[in-house]
Structure formats: C-alpha cells, structure tokens
C-alpha cells in the first residue's frame, strides 16, 4: 500500500484496514497541529481520533484523493470548533460534578520560549504557523486548508516570523 489514493480506494472498496496506513502516515502531523493549537495533549488525542473516524466515514465525499491532507485538516478545524462550542455549553451548566475538571496538560517542549511566543500570536497568524510546522504542511496545503490565496499565506507567514522574532528577542533580552 503506497499512495494516499490507493489507500483511499481500497478503504472505499470495503477494506477498512487500508485506512490504517493513512492513520499511521498522518497521525504525527495531525497531533502536532492539534497540540500546537490546543496546548493540551489529551484533548488533542481525543480530537485526532474523532477526526480520523469522521474522515473515514466521509471518504466517499472526497472529490480529489490528492486533496486528502487539506481535507483532513479541514475536518480537524471543524471538530475543534465543535468541541469548543460544547465546552462553552458545559461551562454554562451550574453543576457538573459528574464531569471531572481537567487541567490542561502542558507538554514538556524543549523550546518553551518559542512555544509560548507562538501561543501569543493572533489566531490567524498562529493558525498558519501551526499548520505549516506542527502540521508539516507546504504553503500550498495551508492555503487549501484555510481556503486562502497562496499569497495571503506567505504574507501571513512573513508577518508571523517578524512577530515571533520580536517576541523572542524581548523574551531573550529579559532573561
């Protein structure tokens, strides 16, 4: 089983085990993206599972097999949003003793300074950075996931770099 297209076709032909190759192939980028975005490994893992299950269920609606990766990350964005909405509703409940409160787990990252600087970025810049590096995507794929022109993605990336360097310089100057 080599290419994404072959895996997708086999999955659609009634061989769900072929989908396992795709899970293995994209688990790390997807988890990287979700951890970078949510900063909570446990939540990221739950969402990644949901994303892969939904993606499997919706494989037949994928128009171009070559667009599998942007499509997968698009599903991830929707699941994250849904999860946040659900959490908003949870918070509004007066009592929720039956649901144990979870403390966000900060992953031990070797470059905490950089991780914190990324977390401080405005959402639209952070999203591009996280998709590009945590999600290990090309700029073209980022543009597809966010449905933005390629020029806007490179422009945002350029601004994000400038902001990150500024933040890193001021943090490193303080220490």
């Amino acid at each position: 089983m080599e290419t994404d297209a072959e895996c997708i076709r086999a999955s659609l032909d009634g061989h769900p085990e072929a989908y396992g190759h795709l899970v293995r192939r994209y688990q790390a980028p997807l988890m990287g993206y979700l951890v970078g975005r949510l900063r909570d490994r446990q939540e990221a893992e739950e969402i990644a599972q949901e994303v892969f299950v939904r993606s499997y269920a919706g494989l037949a609606t994928l128009k171009k097999t070559s667009a599998f990766v942007p499509w997968l990350f698009g599903i991830a964005n929707r699941v994250v949003k849904e999860s946040h909405r659900a959490k908003g509703r949870e918070k509004r409940l007066p009592f929720s003793d039956d649901v144990p409160a979870r403390t966000p787990v900060e992953p031990a990252v070797p470059d905490e300074t950089l991780q914190s600087s990324v977390a401080e970025l405005n959402e639209r810049y952070r999203q591009v950075i996280v998709l590009r590096y945590h999600g290990r995507m090309t700029c073209e794929q980022v543009a597809q996931v966010l449905d933005l022109p390629l020029g806007t993605v490179t422009k945002r990336l350029s601004r994000a770099y400038a902001m990150l360097r500024e933040k890193l310089n001021s943090r490193e100057a303080r220490t």
Binding site: R24, Q27, A57, G151, T154, L157
Partner: protein, 446 residues
C-alpha cells in the same frame, strides 16, 4: 532588486513557491549583507519551528483506537460523515441548482423571516447587527481584476487573483480608513488607501505612489466592495421594494449553531444568484457569493469573506513604508493636465496631446509631466531620452469603447520621434482628472 522587494519575497523564496524570483533574490543576497542577515535569521527561526513541530507531534500511536472505532462504525452503519453545509451540497455541482430550486419553493420568503427547527431568524436581526460594525477584514476571491469603470460595470475574470481589504467606518457609516490590496489589475498589483479624506494608490511594479483628493474614488467602488453594512442595507431595500425574493436554504441539521444561508435566485433563466451566509450567533454577514446563472447551471463568480468584525485594525495596515526612490505624484497638491474651458471633450483631448508634444519639443519636461498624469519632469526626461519628436498629425479624438473606459478618449497621432526616422502612429488616451473638475490629462498610450 531592492532590499524591500527582496524581503517581501523572502518567504516565497525560502518556501520554494513557484514564481518566486529565485535568481534575483540569490543575486541580491550575494551582494547585500543586511538582507543576507535577515535571510539567515528567518532560516534559523524556521529550523527552530521545524524542531518544535516535530516534538509536538510525537507520541503513542492512536491507530488501534481509531481502527476499533471504525470497525464499530462499519458494524453499526452509522452515518457520521463530516459536516457539509447545504450550500456546499447544492453548489458543489451545477446541476444541483434544479434540486435547490425545489427546496426554495417550499420556503417562506416574502417577509424575510425564516423559521428553523426550534429557532427563528429574521433578516432584520442582521440589518440591526450591522449598525454596530465599525471595522472588518474582507477577503475577496476572483475580484482583483475587476473593472471599476464609471459606468459601474465590473467583471471577475477567472484568472484573477484575490483582493484583501480592511475597512473602518465612522458613526455615520461612511468609510474612515480603507486599505485594499489587489493582487492583479491592468496596472499590475496595487494597494489602494483611503485615509484622511484622500485616496492614495501604491503601484509597486512602477514604484509610484499617487495621492488623489477626490471622494468619488470611493463612490466608484461597487458597494459590495465597500463594506458588508452597505450590502445588508442594500439587500433589505431591494426586498422592501419588491425587487427580489430571498429564500433561506433549509439545512438538514438545522440548529442554532449552523449558519443561516440566504439565496437571491432570480426567476429568469439567466442572471446572478447571490448567496448570503449569516453567522448564527452574531447575525453578521460571514460570506457573500455570486454565481452567474445559465439555465440550470451555475458558474462561480466571486466570494467575499468577512472576518474580524469590530477587532482593532493594526496600525501597520494603514501605514506606508515606501522606498526612498519612490515617485510621488500628488494630485491633491498639484494641478494636473489642461483646463477644458469652452472646448468640447474631443477638442480638449486633442489639445492635451498637442500640448504634451509641444512641451516635449520645448524640453519643458515639468510642464509635459504635469499633462501626463503628473509624472515628475526628471522621470519623464529620463524616459524620453535624447529624442526630439516632430508632430505630423493629431486626431481626430473619439470615445474609448473598451469596457470600463467610459469618459476616456482615444487620440490617434503620427510622430517622427527623431529626425530622419520613419513616422510612427500611435493612440494616446486622455481623460478627466479625478478631483480636479474641468481638467483633462494624458493617461497613457505614449
């Protein structure tokens, strides 16, 4: 290549984006210490980011859990497919318009009150929500190469790029500050600013920064480009006047969380189908799409996305950092072109071309430049070089019939550019100067 151009293209270069000016950047980096340092700093940051991304993605495999859930899914034959809006379902394929029409027929439309399962939405809520909008960020696909002619006609050719806008409106709803980045126009890429009651245009490919003192610049921009508040108001008025009927697409999973999707679908077989996507929470316009209807087929024309409502716009968006050698042309301070007086439009058009050549022959480049869109004399002198033209004939002028060129005149001319050289024919374009009533200028062709 300048340092500014190099830095603007640095990310595209490092990311190996097709079309990035690789050779020019490499040449520039070889010569410029400062830019080389900048590139090294960006590369170092990218290396750190790559390492960070790899660490974040590492962890135990989730494959087994996912595959168990999938097995369960297959067994129960549950439909868990990704959420897809009805708009995507209907508009993904042109033939689906007929299916969409059947749904429209079953909907309430006249009063623009839409009842969903357990929720009630009225377009009046959107009109009201937009009263409080002061800032918005707009992304427009396929709208960059539009023709903003005085006749109001504009088109969206499929090959055009995207436009990005930031808009700030005052209490009275009028624009206070606007920035519009157009990826491609007839003049190449350009950025239009509206600040302090003046419009200015930055042409990076020509290194020209033009300032115009004319409020009509804004009125020439189609309303849908200006701000979503105007679009919502205009739709409300069109519905009140009975000019259009609007339907809401009923979603299969109707809930408070789904966007409200309104469709203006003219009964004629040909026309424009408009789609308004409303945020269910804020009731603000999220997206606007245009399709050309041809029988039962729909052809995508343009999509506008409205984001960051009422978020402060960073000061850098409205700032201009120009190169020292930029050509500044300020029509708000300089008299441009020629006064029309009692001449007809065609007479003044011919007079503009004649005066231009007379000033060139007299080597008065400042005056010739003032006629030619306010181009600085020294730049014009450099462009003309040692040529000493002799005019053979000018005219007759006639209106320019190209789309979006209403008000412009074409003036044919025959000139001997240097003594003894064969005569050359050309067509100069002459038009009124924005913000300077009664004055006409040379706009190109020479």
């Amino acid at each position: 290549m300048t340092c500014r151009q190099c830095r603007e293209s640095l990310v595209a270069f490092l990311e190996k984006i097709p079309g990035a000016p690789v050779a020019e950047i490499e040449r520039h980096l070889a010569e410029c210490d400062a830019c080389r340092g900048e590139a090294a700093a960006v590369r170092a940051l990218r290396d750190r980011m790559i390492q960070l991304g790899e660490t974040a993605g590492a962890g135990p495999s989730i494959e087994q859990t996912v595959m168990d859930r999938i097995a369960q899914h297959v067994q129960q034959k549950q439909e868990v497919g990704p959420m897809m809006t009805i708009r995507e379902r209907f508009f993904a394929h042109p033939w689906r318009l007929s299916a969409a029409s059947i749904v429209f027929a079953a909907l309430i439309s006249a009063a623009l009150i839409f009842v969903g399962r357990g929720n009630r939405y009225s377009f009046a809520q959107t009109v009201e929500a937009h009263r409080n909008v002061r800032t918005v960020h707009v992304l427009i696909e396929n709208g960059a190469r539009l023709t903003m002619g005085k006749d109001g006609a504009f088109t969206y050719p499929p090959e055009s790029g995207a436009t990005e806008m930031w808009i700030e409106v005052g209490e009275d709803g009028k624009p206070v500050r606007v920035r519009m980045d157009m990826a491609w126009t007839d003049d190449g890429p350009k950025t239009v600013f509206w600040r302090d009651g003046k419009a200015s245009v930055w042409f990076p490919s020509k290194n020209v920064f033009l300032t115009i003192n004319d409020t009509r610049v804004l009125s020439q921009i189609p309303k849908e480009f200006l701000d979503p508040n105007s679009m919502v108001k205009a739709l409300d008025q069109r519905v009140s006047a009975g000019k259009v009927q609007v339907s809401q697409i009923k979603l299969l999973y109707e809930s408070d969380l789904n966007p409200k999707v309104l469709v203006v679908n003219p009964p004629e077989p040909e026309g424009t189908v408009e789609v308004y996507v409303i945020d269910p929470k804020t009731k603000l316009l999220q997206e606007y799409e245009k399709y050309k209807k041809k029988g039962t087929e729909l052809e995508f024309a343009a999509r506008f996305r409205f984001t960051e409502y009422n978020e402060p716009i960073p000061a850098s968006v409205f700032a201009t950092a120009l190169q020292a050698d930029v050509t500044r042309v300020d029509w708000s301070k300089q008299e441009i072109g020629l006064a029309q007086g009692k001449m007809s439009d065609s007479e003044v058009s011919e007079a503009v071309v004649r005066h231009f050549f007379e000033f060139i022959i007299a080597k008065d480049y400042d005056k010739a430049g003032a006629i030619y869109s306010g181009l600085p004399g020294d730049k014009l002198k450099k462009a003309i070089g040692p040529m000493a033209p002799k005019v053979i004939s000018i005219g007759p002028a006639k209106p320019d019939d190209r789309p979006g060129r209403k008000g412009t005149y074409c003036v044919p001319f025959e000139v001997e550019w240097s003594p003894g050289e064969p005569h050359k024919n050309g067509t100069a374009y002459v038009r009124p100067v924005e913000g300077q009533p009664g004055r006409w200028m040379l706009d190109g062709g020479i």
